[in-house]
Each structure stands twice: as C-alpha cells, then as structure tokens.
C-alpha cells in the first residue's frame, strides 16, 4: 500500500489511528499493539498477499535466532547461530533480489544455462533483511535484551517504516513499543505528525511526480533529445529523487509521530552539502549507519592504515550500490561514490580550501550527484552513456514539449489564461522553469521538513496552508504512482 493513496489516507490510517488510541486509552496495551501489527500486515500484504508469508517467515526465523542468541550469550556457539542467521537472511535476499542478476552474468560469462526465476521483488525486502541482520549482530554484541514477540514483530513490520525505511535499531523503537499503554497521549505530537506527513505528501505528489513525468519522457525518448533536454532530464531526476525519497521519509516519520512513535531522521538537507562526505550524512542516514556498523567497522574501518580505510570505504559503497539494485548500473554508481568519497576523505586534511569557496563546493558536489544519479536511474550503462552522448552531441535548443508538458498542470491553466500569459510566445515552458526554480530554492535555501516540524506551532496561517496542501495533494492522487525507493 502506498502512503499517497486514497485507501491509506481516507480509510487505512484513520481506522488504524482510531482503533489504536481507543485500545490504548482503555488500557488495553496488548490489543493496541496487536491492532498496529495487524494493520502493518494489511499494509504489507495489500499489493501481494503472497509476500506476507515471506515477511512472517522472516520474523519467525529471526525471532527464533534472537532467542537462541540470548540463551547462548557468551558461548562460542553463539557465533555459529549469528552466522546461520545472517546466511538465512542474505540467502532469502539473494534468492529474491540477486539470483537473476548473477545467473544472467554467469550464463553470459561461462555459457551456462541457469534458468532465470523472474520473481517479483518483495516490497522492502532489503530493508527488513538488513534491519534484522543488524539486530542479530547487536544481540550478539550484547546491545539488545529480551523482548516479547509482539514488540519484535512491530520492530520489523511497523508499517510507517516497513517498505522504505528508515532502518531502525532495537533501542530506537522497541522501548517505545513497550511504552504503549503506559505513556501520555500527546496532541502536539499528533498535530506535528500530521503537519510533517502533509509536507511529505505534497513533496511526493506535487513535486516528485511532476518532475518524474519529464524524466520518464526523457528516458523513453533518448534519441530525440537535444542537448538542453538531456541536461534537464539529468537535473530533473536529481530533483525528483530528492522529493520522492525525502517525501517518503517525511510521511513515514509523520505517520510514526501521529502514532506516538519517534522514528530516526533518515534525511536531512543533503544537496546543501559541500562535499560527498557531508552529502552522505544527510541522505539515507540509517542505511549508512548500518553499513558503517556492520561492514566498515568489522572490516577494520580506519584502524588498519589509510590504504585499507580507503579500500573499506569503496567496498561499503559497492555494497550500497548492490543493495539499491541488482544491476551493473547500481554497482557502477556505488563504485563512483566510493571512489569520490574516499578521494574526498584523502583531500580533507591535506588541502585547505578557503571558506568563501563554499558555494563553489556545493555546486561541484551537486554537479557530481547529478552525473551519478544518471547511473542510478538508467536501465543500463549503455542508456546512461546515451544520455551523456545527447548532452554533447544533441546540440543546444529550447526544451522540447515532451519535457515541458508534464509541468503544465490543469490548476495553472486558469491563472495563466486569466493573466494572458498563456498566449505569450514560449508559454509552454514557463511552468517548467517556475517549477525548477521553486524546487532549487527549496533544495538550497529552505529548511527541510524535519526542521519545519520542529519549529511548528499551530497558527491560523499554517492551518489554512497545510489543509490546502493536503487537499491539493489528495485531489492529485489520481495518477498511477510508485515510490522510487520501494524497489530497493
């Protein structure tokens, strides 16, 4: 189920909230948690009930491994249980996500005839697999404690974060689930959560999907793009991905807040970063934390010399690339980020760049991100190459109508007609330019949604604006839409 769907907004979430708080208010904590869990299963199984069994199986196996690890604490056999748990999780992930990629490449390399399974990727499998691997590792390290199966199931399946993160730790969520029934209801949290959810909904529906239409057109018509179109397609995907993923993260945290649960911040203002190291402190924060704790540090981190550290960094980004998708484009994207990240770390501390150059550094980082996202979006390295080739060989020209059309939304037709703008030359491009400018201002000059939520205080002005944004977004849900980060 999508957050940005009529079903979620008009039925699922109001029903979930009402039942949850009713049970909690009557002191029935177990019922409230069960209610939340059942809604989480509904949320997950809505698109494909078959994969609910996978989620249930994953929860069952990992909870069993967790109990075993607690019992074997300090014994040598605990390591074997941890290894078995990790293997089982990675095995499932490999089977569903990577089998075809490896089989295809082995077939190509060795002429073998491994049959492809062409399985539909279960939603969020990378998220709940990594989260549970991290949990087993934390248990092995003694960083968790016994918890009931209900709380554990909620830790894995809590719907606001189930399909696209954040990847949470035991300590961040389980104590909060245990407090259900023993805490005070907060109107402020509910209000702020609604405000944050609305900001995220608007980002996704009104901005990400609008830029997405131009991006889809561009990638679908590469051979007909001129150089300007190709540059815009690259830029628009950078913008789309930001609003798509940050919008999702805002909705997830907002929904969590409305249920009285704090989820960790997963998204800051990454495009304001002046280098790649800073960028990764603001983009998909909890995934980076997971990779740091479970890959970079066990590999030796920075304790075994600088060369080893740079190798470890590149390796972490290769894993990150592969985590995002089973394909050479993602691996290449990961390698690109790994090399530039390691390079940035090498430069830091050696070369002092004067303070005034911050704008140039932000611009250079943004340019690198634009280029790297091309590999993230392209279906193949050849397609990415084709887009770059159009930038160079396509020649300068005005943006084509296919790029601009998606921005000419119906709601702007009336004011443009009334103001006589619609009949001016090149009027088909005005909204494209206005959207781009607006998006860039948000990216570089505005506070992010999390900061806005923190500063939020109820006023008549933000009431009207928030309700208006919510209504506008809700009425714009008619198109088919899916979150880019679900596929990971």
């Amino acid at each position: 189920m999508l957050f940005n769907s009529y079903l979620f907004i008009l039925l699922f979430f109001p029903l979930c909230l009402a039942g949850f708080y009713l049970a909690e208010r009557r002191g029935k904590a177990a019922l409230a948690k069960l209610w939340l869990l059942l809604f989480s299963f509904w949320f997950y199984g809505y698109a494909n009930p078959y994969y609910l069994w996978l989620l249930l199986g994953s929860i069952g196996v990992n909870y069993g491994a967790f109990l075993l690890l607690l019992r074997l604490k300090g014994k040598k056999s605990a390591k074997a249980v941890l290894a078995a748990g990790i293997c089982l999780n990675l095995g499932a992930l490999f089977y569903f996500k990577y089998y075809d990629f490896f089989a295809e490449n082995l077939n190509r390399l060795f002429g073998s005839q491994l049959a492809l399974k062409q399985l539909l990727l279960p939603l969020g499998i990378s998220y709940f697999t990594f989260q549970q691997i991290g949990f087993l590792a934390d248990t092995y390290r003694g960083k968790t404690r016994r918890c009931a199966v209900l709380e554990y199931a909620l830790f894995v399946a809590f719907f606001p974060r189930l399909v696209a993160g954040p990847i949470v730790t035991f300590e961040e969520t389980v104590p909060q689930f245990e407090q259900i029934g023993r805490r005070r209801f907060s109107w402020e949290k509910l209000t702020k959560g609604l405000y944050l959810f609305t900001l995220g909904l608007g980002k996704k529906v009104l901005l990400a999907d609008t830029f997405g239409a131009a991006v889809d057109f561009g990638y679908g018509n590469l051979s007909s793009l001129n150089g300007t179109d190709a540059v815009l397609v690259m830029l628009f995907y950078t913008i789309q991905l930001y609003f798509d993923f940050s919008g999702y993260c805002d909705m997830a945290r907002g929904a969590g807040h409305m249920l009285g649960i704090d989820l960790p911040v997963n998204f800051g203002s990454p495009y304001k970063a002046s280098n790649l190291v800073e960028f990764w402190k603001g983009w998909h924060i909890t995934l980076n934390r997971f990779l740091l704790q479970n890959i970079y540090i066990p590999l030796g981190g920075n304790r075994k010399g600088r060369v080893r550290m740079y190798c470890n960094l590149v390796l972490v980004f290769l894993v990150s690339g592969l985590w995002h998708g089973a394909g050479w484009t993602f691996l290449f994207w990961g390698a690109l980020h790994g090399v530039v990240y390691a390079g940035t770390r090498w430069v830091q501390g050696r070369i002092r760049i004067r303070q005034g150059a911050k704008a140039a550094k932000v611009a250079a980082t943004f340019l690198f991100l634009n280029v790297s996202w091309v590999f993230f979006r392209a279906e193949s390295l050849a397609q990415a190459g084709a887009l770059f080739s159009r930038m160079v060989r396509g020649g300068f020209g005005l943006p084509s109508s296919g790029i601009c059309d998606g921005f000419n939304l119906g709601e702007f037709w009336y004011p443009m007609k009334a103001l006589g703008i619609a009949s001016l030359p090149g009027s088909g491009m005005y909204l494209c330019a206005a959207f781009t400018l607006f998006a860039l201002v948000i990216l570089f000059a505005c506070k992010n949604a999390g900061e806005m939520e923190e500063r939020f205080s109820p006023k008549a002005s933000n009431l009207v604006l928030t309700a208006g944004l919510f209504l506008w977004s809700l009425l714009s849900l008619s198109g088919v839409s899916s979150f880019l980060y679900f596929q990971f």
Partner: protein, 364 residues
C-alpha cells in the same frame, strides 16, 4: 495542547469541507456519467474513451451501440436512427482489442439487458489475434466496476474537476456534439492521396511466407472468450459486424510481409465462425475497390472519410457487401486476388488523384 486540538479540528473541518464540495460537484455534473444522464445545459467535453465510455454505456438512453476501434470514430450516430430507427450510442475505443469490446459489452448488457436491439461493431483483422486479456490502454477499474468504495478516485480527482468541469465552463466552445463523439480532427482537406502518401512508409519486406494457420489459435481464443459469449447470451440482439475498408496500402504491407495467405485464412475462419450465429450479420468492405483503391477517401493509410461511414451504414440497411456462408469463400478469394494483383508501384506514379471521394454527397 488546547491550541493543537483547535488546529487539528480546524484542519479536519477544512479538509472535510473541501472533499465534500469536490465530491458534490463531481456527482452533480458527473462528467464521466457514472451516476446519471448528462445535465441538459452543461457543456460536456467528451474526449476520453477509456474513462467516459463506461458511464455512457451505463446511463445514456439508447437501443443500439456502435463499438470498435477508430474505424468507427467518424460515424454519425444519427444515421442509425434515421435509417434503421435505432437510437445508437457510440462507444469507440481507438486501437481496441477484443477484450476492450468485451469489457464495454459487459456494461452495455448489464445496463440495458434485453433492451439492446443492435450492436454495430467494426472487426479489425489486426487485433483479432491479440491477447485475450489485452486492452489497448489500462482500464480504470473504478469506472468499470460496481464497487462504490473505489469511486473516491473519481469523486476526489483533480483532473475530473479541472479538465472536465471547470475548463468546459471556462471554455464552453469545446462542448462535444453527442452524435459525432470522438470524431477525428481531420477536416475534409486532409482526405487526399498526397496527404496519405506523405505519411505512409511501406512495411519492410519479409523473407519467408507466414504459415497459413499462424493467426488461428489466437483468433479462436478471442472469439471464444471475448465475442461469441455475447452472441450466445443475447439472441434478441442483432449484431452487425463489419470488416472496415482499409486502403490498398494496408494490403501492400500485408503482401510485403508475406502474410496474405495467413490473413485471408484468418478472415475466412472468423467469418464462418461468426456466421454460425443466427443473430450475427457480417459485412466485408475490405475489397470494395471504389473505396480502398481511391486514396482520396483516406486521411492516412487506414482511416477513411465519414462519407464511407455513411455508405457502410446504408449497407446495413440494403444488405450490400454482406457476407454469407454461401459467398464467404468467393468474397475473400476476390480480396486475395485484388491484393495479389494490384499494381502497387503505380500508386506513386502520380501523387494526386482527380477522382472525387466515394459516396460524396450520396446517401443521407
């Protein structure tokens, strides 16, 4: 806390009021005709076949329907009433597959039951062998089913509000003419040989001939699932099925792809199967030389002028071009002969043709 409660109450009130207003406006105007007949004075814009046909099928007054691809788009439904006394609703789907026809027939028969006197249907050879579940465009389920819950997608829909309610009000000159819904934008000047040849590119030539029985399996499945069940379930309805007159350039492509034997085999098989039902009549315009060999009748290599549509309607009354079990072989043999022996090269000798359009100023 108090201010948060007030803010939340205000938020809920504003959102509910907004949704109520949007929903009420959609129900009242109902631009996709899901709940009632069109309002008499509203300047409806009908240009969206996938979204508006289901409502038209459910709520308009009619005794007959015109179904099919863009081959039906130039028909004027008044002709059916004038010539046959059957008030007819056009429910075309551009590029429709048999499944599209089945989907809309489900709605037509569930709305009108035994009250459907006639179904006029264009049968496109090229799509008869498509997938049995294949539709040209994704179906908007909430407009095709009876589930009132998913109607929220219609009631709270920005495009419905802006493009189909407010925009027609702001620009009422775009209002649709009910008799000629979905009429193509081509004006008479576009129907000429020069224009057709300018945009026509011959199909690449195939090396080997297509197997004669190539299409039969798929066609059989489509007939079984998407067409014949309706002939069987509605013996009270007369089905007028017609093969539309594609231009000779279509046959040039068929010949170049070496598909002629397979195509004629498919047509003979389909026709015999259709004619096994007493309530089905079949008309074939594929080989009417006055139409197909005169490119002035076309705006592109398959789309013909409304004069030709009028002729087709007249044939439904007169019985001209009707195919029967007796003349079936003969009709398609003649078509094959035309396609095989036509001097296609001569088409490009002169890009202009002095002949007038077929049936121009006739019928009516």
């Amino acid at each position: 806390m108090k201010s948060c409660r007030k803010w939340l109450a205000g938020f809920l009130a504003l959102v509910l009021a907004g949704l109520l207003a949007a929903g009420a406006l959609v129900v009242w105007v109902d631009p996709f005709f899901q709940y009632h007949k069109p309002l008499s004075r509203f300047p409806y814009l009908v240009d969206n076949q996938v979204n508006q046909n289901p409502g038209l099928a459910k709520n308009m007054d009619y005794e007959g329907v015109l179904l099919g691809s863009s081959m039906t788009a130039s028909f004027n439904t008044d002709w059916f009433e004038e010539k046959m006394g059957i008030k007819t609703q056009k429910l075309s789907y551009n590029g429709s597959y048999p499944k599209d026809l089945a989907n809309i027939m489900d709605l037509v028969f569930s709305a009108k039951g035994d009250g459907v006197k006639a179904v006029f249907m264009a049968v496109d050879q090229g799509t008869l062998s498509g997938g049995v579940e294949e539709t040209k465009f994704p179906i908007t389920d909430y407009l095709y089913d009876d589930n009132p819950l998913n109607d929220v997608q219609y009631l709270f829909n920005k495009e419905v509000l802006l493009d189909y309610i407010l925009r027609p009000l702001a620009d009422p000159k775009d209002r649709s003419d009910w008799s000629v819904l979905y009429r193509p934008w081509w004006t008479d000047e576009y129907y000429n040989k020069t224009n057709v040849l300018m945009y026509y590119e011959p199909a690449p030539e195939a090396e080997a001939s297509m197997d004669k029985a190539y299409f039969l399996d798929a066609v059989e499945k489509n007939l079984e699932q998407n067409l014949c069940p309706y002939f069987e379930a509605h013996p009270e309805t007369e089905f007028y099925l017609f093969y539309p007159p594609y231009s000779i350039l279509y046959w040039n492509d068929v010949v170049r792809r070496k598909e002629l034997d397979a195509v004629t085999e498919e047509l003979v098989y389909t026709t015999r199967r259709l004619l096994s039902y007493d309530n089905v009549r079949v008309f074939c315009f594929l080989g009417v030389e006055e139409i197909v060999c005169n490119l002035n009748n076309y705006a592109d290599y398959i789309h013909y002028h409304e004069d030709t549509c009028r002729y087709i309607t007249d044939c439904f009354v007169s019985g001209q071009q009707e195919v029967t079990q007796e003349n079936c072989e003969e009709v398609f043999e003649a078509l094959k002969e035309l396609a095989l022996t036509y001097d296609y090269e001569s088409i490009w000798e002169d890009w202009q043709d002095p002949r007038p359009r077929f049936y121009q100023g006739q019928g009516g």
